[in-house]
Amino acid sequence: MDTFIQLVIDGLALGSVYAALALAIVLVNQSTGLINFSQGAMAVLSAYFAYVLIGWGFPTILAILGSIVVSFLLGAIVERLLIRRFEGGDPDTAVVVTIGLLTLFTGIAGWIWGYNNRQFPSLFPLETVDILGAVVSVRSIGTTLTIVGIMVVLQLLFQGTKLGLALRAVAINPSSAAYSGLPVGRLLMIGWGLAAALGAVAGALVAPALTLTPGMMDTALVYALAAVIIGGLNSPLGAVVAAWGIGVLENLAAVYVPFIGYDLKIAVPFIILFVVLLVRPQGLFGRKVVVRV
């Protein structure tokens, strides 16, 4: 029983890491209609910004806040200077551009900071607490709660605010949105900026556990994509629940299904993905899009 609880709680902590990135992907998708494959790499760059600020002697929290601001600007600039040229064209082209950005950003990070693992301080104390016989680090709890907080904020942004509504409208049909007076270009920049800022939070949450390297987010990105597809691309809640589910099931399967073990556990999210898509193609929490002519 103790092992089980430990595995579940570790799984939730792991899932929270995927969830952070998954939320950024949902945010860009809701506000631009795209999947941004470079979201993870942008988050890594953000973590390096924070790393540099910490190196200059800033306290960790201020360094992370600084990197959030810089990342917002970076995201907005990437949209304005690069992605803007591909909007209105074939969405597949824009997605391929984001794959190019993934390699570019990873390369830039490696070029400037090298490929050695670097220690990144945690925002949360290193202590552990006892929950139902399981040993839980305060860092895991802090990460999980931060994710829940961000999820609530995003859900409120999209469902309850005029800005959120405008972001969604522009993502669905930019030219029609413009006829209602929505500043399309500015809203797309804000969407990318917000997603990059959220990515910066993800990077700062993940870096202490994974140690900072240019490829830190590569695996997490794969899990995060699986999570948004399982949870539904338009649902922050769905993405987080799915990410947690992936983290927990992956851990449990590694221990309790001898055939899978630690070597095959990366296959678990994709088995789940496969089954979910067979049963509910719009994802667990996604809203089905009905098209009538």
């Binding site: 005029k162 509504l165 405008a166 969604r168 409208a169 669905i172 049909n173 030219s175 029609s176 949105a177 413009a178 006829y179 209602s180 007076g181 929505l182 500043p183 399309v184 338009n234 809203r287 899009v289 009905v290 098209v291 009538r292 002519v293």
Partner: protein, 236 residues
């Protein structure tokens, strides 16, 4: 008073010239139709006014030259555009679509009143207020598109082929509601319509386009009396 005036307007899609000198004028509170066959440039004329295509010539609205403005700037001046294909935002609910229509407005109370008015004008939308727009029927989507444009409280409504793809009785009902909207709100309208019979239920005057330029214009009564109009657009 003239609200909108097009003087010898030209328009291009890339290197292809689509409008070759269109002129028309819409008076305050008036309703003008643009008739013509497929490909005559009717939709492009509306898009030229909204700033969605590259244009030449002169477009004057409320005494100022608006040629070269972006669609969102044109919208700010009080011109609402119901585009071809309706432009409803499929994944958003009916209510959210209407809120998008009122995006530029700050007068919350009046917005709420206008929303009630829309639902009274189009009772079908009332029952579907929380369902996603893509789940509506074609006629309901067209009503939503018109209602969304009205939510901006424009001075001028550009309406592109509101009857497209609708059953004749549905198209008639949509035009009936638009006529009521015109009478009760006094919004000026510029209406593109393939179905001239429907258009004449609404407009005071019309122009006829052929390959991107004016070939005829006149009041509804004059045009209805012309043989060539009857043959080409009114079914004999």
């Amino acid at each position: 008073m003239t609200l909108l005036e097009l003087d010898n307007v030209t328009a291009w899609y890339g290197p292809v010239q689509v409008l070759d000198g269109v002129s028309l004028s819409v008076p305050d509170n008036g309703a003008v139709g643009i008739l013509g066959a497929n490909g005559a440039g009717k939709t492009t004329t509306l898009r030229a006014i909204s700033g969605a295509v590259r244009t030449g010539g002169r477009i004057t609205y409320d005494g100022r030259d608006i040629r070269g403005l972006h669609p969102e700037q044109v919208a700010k001046l009080g011109i609402a555009h119901v585009p071809e294909g309706r432009g409803t935002l499929g994944q958003l609910t009916v209510r959210e679509n209407l809120r998008v229509g009122a995006y530029l407005r700050k007068d919350r109370k009046a917005v709420a009143e206008d929303l009630d008015y829309c639902l009274e004008l189009f009772p079908n939308l009332k029952d579907r207020i929380s369902s996603s727009a893509s789940a509506l029927s074609g006629g309901e989507q067209q009503m939503l598109a018109v209602a969304r444009a009205f939510m901006a409280r424009p001075r001028l409504l550009l309406l592109d082929e509101a009857s497209l793809g609708l059953a004749p009785s549905t198209a008639k009902a949509v035009y009936e509601a638009i006529r009521r909207l015109r009478l009760e709100s006094g919004i000026a309208m510029l209406i593109v319509e393939q179905n001239a019979n429907l258009a004449f239920t609404l407009v005071d005057s019309a122009i006829v386009l052929e390959t991107g330029r004016n070939v005829l214009s006149g009041s509804s009564a004059e045009l209805k009396g012309m043989d060539e109009i009857r043959r080409a657009y009114l079914g004999g």
